[in-house]
């Protein structure tokens, strides 16, 4: 379907969509360079073309009301209590065609398999270090390496049960891996709630496009957790460990525990006795076999990690070691999403799986290496600098957007501790038509940068949520999509069959 044809049919009532122009030099998720919609977007594009500015505004308002009513909120760190916000939602869906998704899915599974093999190896025999593929000190000095995890062998060798892989789409239309999240990735509840909203707001478009369902995720997560229970337990008790109501992802913890029908526990609800994990119920202690934890390693066990932590449960590591409980994700998985280790992930895939990587990664320079460092420091304003151990977009410096003072500060930090930083070229992220205020009380469609975080589950077999969280940078030109830094989200539609 040609956009121009439909636009003229829609005539004067629908200037909003017709006025949209995909920008040059970037991949547009809905329109091809020729101007028409990609063929897999055609039914939705036609549908949207019939809508005027007022209808778009109402669509967005309805969506926000719905999310607020559902209580889909997140807490912002550093803000006072009651500062709950809804994660801004853009009603125009992001669509991925069936063939593209097929490749992505295979690539994601391959990647998480390799990452799991890597973590198991690092805390086991460490072959990859002995074989010299990755330098010893890069691992042992990583802030995410946990000596306390050495020798732990979880069921199936699975350390990473839940992975969130952040993908971006370059100007060439290809997906690249930007970073891995192998600790406690969040955002999946928004995927499910966003779909609930689009199902109510645009049922016809959804049906016409034959979109794959996402509602099975909690059941898949529970199945994966159950499959990883210590051997011999047929009906394991699963619990979800949250840091509590002040955590920014608390809504998600509530959502997942309710959807899975498992108890939502805090550290003070748990106790370790006889190398077993128990929760304190009104009927006495009840053994927990699988703990889906949403708190960081450092707070997990005051015996092994931070002694001042009140969030975890003392003795948990010993119980894991005794094999009476499995935790997901395992201790020390952060070593797999360390930004410096990231540079070695293509090698890892070849090393552990004997396969060529299906998904390319964004070019990554290790600043610990003197020549690389010299090259990067010469043109610092052309790179994105990331601290190796951080997540959530914290500490990232985008060279072209940074002030001279920021660049000078960054340069000083790199020179002081080069091993703590990596550099990546600025990727020109793909864009997507997004509703924005026109400054005169109405809404218009404008291109905004998006990324994609699919979720991969590793139980006895891999399961991939169809789609994932599309985050959108709502500020014009902004490349930062993190919810903590002003990003919003879109529903992600993976089509069921080739079109």
């Amino acid at each position: 379907m040609e956009l121009s044809t439909t636009a003229s049919q829609a005539g004067r009532q629908a200037p909003v969509f017709a006025a949209y122009r995909p920008p040059a030099g970037m991949y547009d998720e809905m329109f091809s360079a020729a101007g028409g919609p990609h063929r897999w977007c055609a039914p939705v594009a036609a549908n949207l073309l019939e809508m005027g500015s007022a209808e778009f505004a109402s669509l967005r308002a309805q969506a926000e009301r719905m999310l607020l009513r559902m209580g889909v909120t997140f807490n912002v760190y550093g803000q006072t209590e009651g500062a709950e916000r809804i994660f801004p939602f853009d009603p125009i869906p992001r669509i991925i065609d069936a063939e593209t998704w097929q490749t992505l899915e295979a690539g994601l599974i391959q990647r998480v398999r390799a990452l799991n093999a890597f973590v198991a190896d690092i805390y086991g025999e460490a072959h990859i270090l002995k074989d010299g593929l990755i330098p010893h000190d890069l691992i042992l000095e990583s802030s995410q390496y946990r000596r306390g995890a050495v020798g732990i062998a979880p069921p199936g060798g699975t350390f990473i049960t839940v992975a969130g892989i952040d993908l971006v789409r370059g100007a060439d239309g290809r997906f690249y891996v930007l970073e891995d999240n192998a600790r406690t990735p969040s955002g999946v509840s928004y995927v499910i709630e966003n779909r609930l909203v689009t199902t109510r707001l645009m049922p016809a478009a959804l049906r016409a496009s034959r979109v794959r369902s996402v509602e099975g995720y909690p059941a898949d997560l529970l199945a994966s957790l159950v499959e990883l229970a210590p051997g011999g337990i047929s009906r394991p008790t699963v619990a979800l460990l949250t840091p509590g109501p002040f955590n920014s992802a608390f809504f998600e913890h509530v959502f997942l525990s309710q959807q899975m029908g498992v108890e939502l526990v805090e550290g003070r609800d748990l106790v370790c006795v006889d190398h077993k994990l128990w929760m304190k119920t009104v009927y006495g202690l009840r053994q927990v076999h699988v703990l889906y934890r949403r708190i960081d390693d450092d707070y997990l066990d005051a015996v092994v990690f931070r002694p001042d932590s009140m969030l975890g449960v003392a003795g948990l590591t010993a119980a894991i070691r005794a094999g009476s409980v499995t935790i997901a994700n395992g201790i020390g998985t952060g070593v797999a999403d360390d930004k410096a280790v990231f540079a070695y992930t293509p090698e890892m895939i070849r090393y552990y799986l004997g396969e060529q990587p299906i998904l390319p990664i964004v070019e990554t320079h290790l600043l610990r290496e003197p020549e690389v460092r010299a090259t990067v420091l010469r043109d610092l304003d052309r790179y994105v600098i990331k601290p190796t151990g951080a997540s959530g977009g914290y500490g990232v410096v985008i060279g072209p957007r940074a002030s001279d003072a920021e660049l000078a500060q960054t340069r000083k930090q790199i020179e002081a501790a080069p091993a703590n930083y990596i550099a990546q070229p600025v990727v020109s992220l793909s864009v997507h038509p997004t509703l924005v205020d026109d400054g005169a009380g109405g809404v218009v469609l404008a291109p905004r940068h998006v990324d994609l975080r699919p979720f991969v589950l590793m139980g006895a077999r891999p399961r991939v949520l169809a789609g994932g969280l599309t985050r959108v940078a709502l500020r014009e030109g902004s490349l930062v999509v993190n919810s903590s830094q002003g990003g919003g989200s879109k529903d992600t539609w993976v089509l069921d069959a080739p079109c």
Binding site: G71, P245, R268, D269, K280, T281, V282, Y283
Partner: protein
């Protein structure tokens, strides 16, 4: 069910019920004093004896006049059982459970809390003491209705019922004690118009006047009032009814546990239930109502201790 969750539900219910009863106690006391001749009985200070707060009050207030006592029970945040404190504590317990209670319940309780933060003594002047407490009472009815219509009947609901029933049983005994303390009945007053109107006010403050008339007719007699407030098996604020309801809730909890019935773990509830079912007003009055009421209060405290130790303690 986690102990922490049950504990929050139990205390949320207790504090809500306690706040409601504080309002009822103040309300009835106000009426008794308005209607009685000057200088009769113990006045406002008697309230302090009934609730066991005399010492704390004396430490911070100079005179036991109406404004001070009303302020102490309604606004004073240093008084942990003032209405404002109770509402705040109920809200704290609910806040920890926002994901488990209905959003409607949270909204009601949070709104009440926010309003209570803004109360001033001027509200008594503006609305009248009667107006203030009757509006407050409606808020509590609304909360009770929201609990009834939006909370699933699971173990969590049962712990709400345990907390509410226990607090109600304990407070009905305090209400009965008001008559004893505030206006020590003189022999010649018994059966006088004044005596009758006082009993009627007491029944009204427990919302029991209509139930009384249906059960016992228009003539208000002390023994019948004691009967309906302590030993009645169908009036929902009667001590016996409350303890029966508490027993039933514990039995439902135990249906999921290993004990044959709820009383195995809370023997004090069993004992009090037996006592109240066997109780008869004339005998109790003969032997001394005040002492009997104190005995029931002790039993309630024991039930609270046993419920906490058996089901709720988690740290």
């Amino acid at each position: 069910m986690l102990r922490r969750v049950a504990n929050h539900l139990y205390w949320a219910a207790r504090y809500l019920e306690r706040a409601e009863w504080r309002a009822r106690l103040l309300d009835v006391n106000y009426h008794l004093l308005v209607e009685s001749p000057p200088g009769a009985g113990g006045g406002w200070v008697a309230m302090l004896t009934i609730t066991g707060d005399r010492e704390e009050f004396n430490a911070r207030y100079e005179t036991g006049d109406e404004a001070s006592v009303l302020g102490f029970y309604t606004f004073d945040e240093k008084n942990l059982s003032s209405i404002r404190s109770c509402v705040g504590l109920a809200r704290e317990n609910c806040r920890a459970l926002r994901h488990r209670i209905s959003s409607e319940l949270w909204l009601e309780i949070n709104t009440l809390y926010l309003d209570a933060q803004r109360w001033t003594p001027g509200d008594f002047a503006a609305m009248g003491v009667y107006g203030f407490f009757s509006e407050l009472r409606e808020r509590f009815y609304r909360i009770a209705g929201v609990i009834q219509t939006t909370i699933s009947r699971d173990v969590g609901y049962d712990f709400l019922a345990v907390g509410r029933s226990l607090e109600c049983a304990e407070n009905i005994t305090r209400l009965l004690d008001v008559k004893y303390h505030v206006l020590l009945p003189k022999l010649e007053d018994v059966g006088s118009p004044l005596d009758l109107s006082q009993w009627a006010a007491l029944l009204r403050s427990a919302s029991a006047l209509e139930a009384y008339r249906r059960a016992y007719g228009n003539l208000i007699r002390a023994d019948k009032v004691v009967e309906i407030l302590l030993f009645d098996g169908s009036f929902p604020r009667a001590a016996r009814f409350c303890i029966d309801r508490l027993g039933a809730a514990l039995a439902r909890v135990e249906a999921g546990g290993m004990h044959a019935n709820g009383f195995d773990r809370v023997p004090a509830a069993h004992a009090l239930g037996v006592r109240l079912r066997a109780g008869a007003a004339p005998t109790v009055i003969e032997a001394g109502l005040h002492e009997y009421l104190l005995g029931v209060q002790d039993d309630c405290a024991r039930i609270g201790d046993q419920v906490s130790a058996e089901y709720l303690k988690f740290e």
